[in-house]
Symmetry: D3
Subunit: 129 residues, 6 copies
Amino acid sequence: MTLKPIEHADAAPEVRAVYDDIKAARNVPDVNNFWKMAAHHPPTLKRTWESLREVMAPGALDPLVKEMIFVAVSVTNGCDYCIRSHEAAARRAGMTDAQFGELMAVIGMANETNRLAKGYQVEIDEALK
Amino acid sequence: MTLKPIEHADAAPEVRAVYDDIKAARNVPDVNNFWKMAAHHPPTLKRTWESLREVMAPGALDPLVKEMIFVAVSVTNGCDYCIRSHEAAARRAGMTDAQFGELMAVIGMANETNRLAKGYQVEIDEALK
Amino acid sequence: MTLKPIEHADAAPEVRAVYDDIKAARNVPDVNNFWKMAAHHPPTLKRTWESLREVMAPGALDPLVKEMIFVAVSVTNGCDYCIRSHEAAARRAGMTDAQFGELMAVIGMANETNRLAKGYQVEIDEALK
Amino acid sequence: MTLKPIEHADAAPEVRAVYDDIKAARNVPDVNNFWKMAAHHPPTLKRTWESLREVMAPGALDPLVKEMIFVAVSVTNGCDYCIRSHEAAARRAGMTDAQFGELMAVIGMANETNRLAKGYQVEIDEALK
Amino acid sequence: MTLKPIEHADAAPEVRAVYDDIKAARNVPDVNNFWKMAAHHPPTLKRTWESLREVMAPGALDPLVKEMIFVAVSVTNGCDYCIRSHEAAARRAGMTDAQFGELMAVIGMANETNRLAKGYQVEIDEALK
Amino acid sequence: MTLKPIEHADAAPEVRAVYDDIKAARNVPDVNNFWKMAAHHPPTLKRTWESLREVMAPGALDPLVKEMIFVAVSVTNGCDYCIRSHEAAARRAGMTDAQFGELMAVIGMANETNRLAKGYQVEIDEALK
């Protein structure tokens, strides 16, 4: 009943154009399932790709830092697909095992202290206003 | 009805010892409200401080990157106190306005694509298993 | 170790009565696994079914809109079972592929802007108070 | 310490152009605080506005349904600013008190049953695969 | 623009009947704001009160344990109103400061380890299937 | 691409020491996958185990109550692994089927009313401040 991924061979021209753009930008032989599912709504496919390309490009933050931030959000939201695909991207961008370990440790502590701050209903300090 | 922050002058010796340790480690005149509330349960105060000090110390990731990851989690969890205190910490660690802007952009896109991946029930690619 | 679904043949009379009510209301030959698990606590089975029947009935909002709202919540909470069962219900209520595509796009943008509003700690405008 | 909203008079030309576009599209005398904060990162301001305009435009779903979906996500994420601004937008699009009441009831039930499905670790029915 | 609480004097008879029922059951002179807001949709008011009364009644779990579970969910969802009202209810049911301290500590650790389990994509052990 | 669990035979001495400590404390022949994954970052393994042992020890709250709180958080966060492992731990600590049923019912109602409180933007009562 659920939708199936749309392969390149079965895709409409506007979808193929985005697939080709992703493949060229990332130098990969095929796009992954995320794009093949988003392709069911071509405007979402195009807009999401263009936004992601803009946001994840090297800028004031380097790509590795951006991918680790992406992992932190994905872990906190509990999205398995996103955790795996962005952990892979972070490793391609140079993340070491030691960096991954520290990333996980920070994510864990942030989630713990976020709840303590809420649970104790901590008032915002004057210096933070 | 809610608990009030415990000030240094009113704190038990075991709590004061942690406050003094935080003040020395961070070179600040007073600890902030988070610690003054956690102090209602001294074992939580001590354990949380020791864990946070260990996790946020410079290591394979530098302190600025760690603070930005902390902000990413806090924004995703919607913890106002945590957003403000760790944005402040990130700025003290050198975060520029441009870096903050990109941090927010990545957090936003990650949250969007996390939901698209869930909504489309994207299957994990073989290469990501 | 986990609980197993309770089939109609093995169910206590009070559970069977709810199963029969669901089957009649939805014109289906069997209830799905959600109900067969909730049946482990008969008061929860009965109360949840009665609440859901009341809330999802046609009213000021039509059933398709209600099912799409249900999907939006389920995607945001990351509940795979709920996404699949309510996407199916929305399709039975007439949701087209184009509507599903726009539903996903709105869910995605809402999640992105929710985090931007939190991350920038946007103050509520006077006109919204 | 936190950033302040950027008013039209103080905005760079690229920011003003977006503000003017929003004001024209929505026929309002001023943009709200969300945009004045996003303006601290002009690419985010521009991209977010263009994406939102595309996604929220009338299409296969009408604007009222889209705004109610937006509210459902915002309530589930706990974003006060987003709840208030999109409840206001939904009312402008014609949402009645009775519709708002049913919207809240559906959001509530969806959140309850999402957790029951998770808590009971309900297996996906064959028919939903 | 937001809705205002509906006071007893201004309430329709069906709403007053629920208010009176809550006041009698809890032995309080007035209902709190949660009910005065839910009253904008009388079926939600009535259903929520009846469900809550059933679920929170003494049973296999005592009321204090139930209120602490309620607090744990509310902290994890970040609902300030719910944290405060159910912390108050837990204290009325006998929660001591030491119990509150341990409750917060468990909530914190659960949130931390939840994210570590997700982040490391831990496979479910055979014994847990 | 993902990390694999580290078995006792392949573990570094510092990791083995923690494994042995867990096995002795819990009287089990092997540690579960959570620990075998956390072992990829030995400081996280050690700190998490020591924190969890301290927090989950009998104190002002008994172990069964603590495990049920842990389940409530895990269900709300949607962590399947954590739900299963802590439901198992709660059952080992004596949780009956009736208690599990009520636990689920409370979690469900708390999630529902959390969203109603947010959705209606309920103001905090004076008595709760």
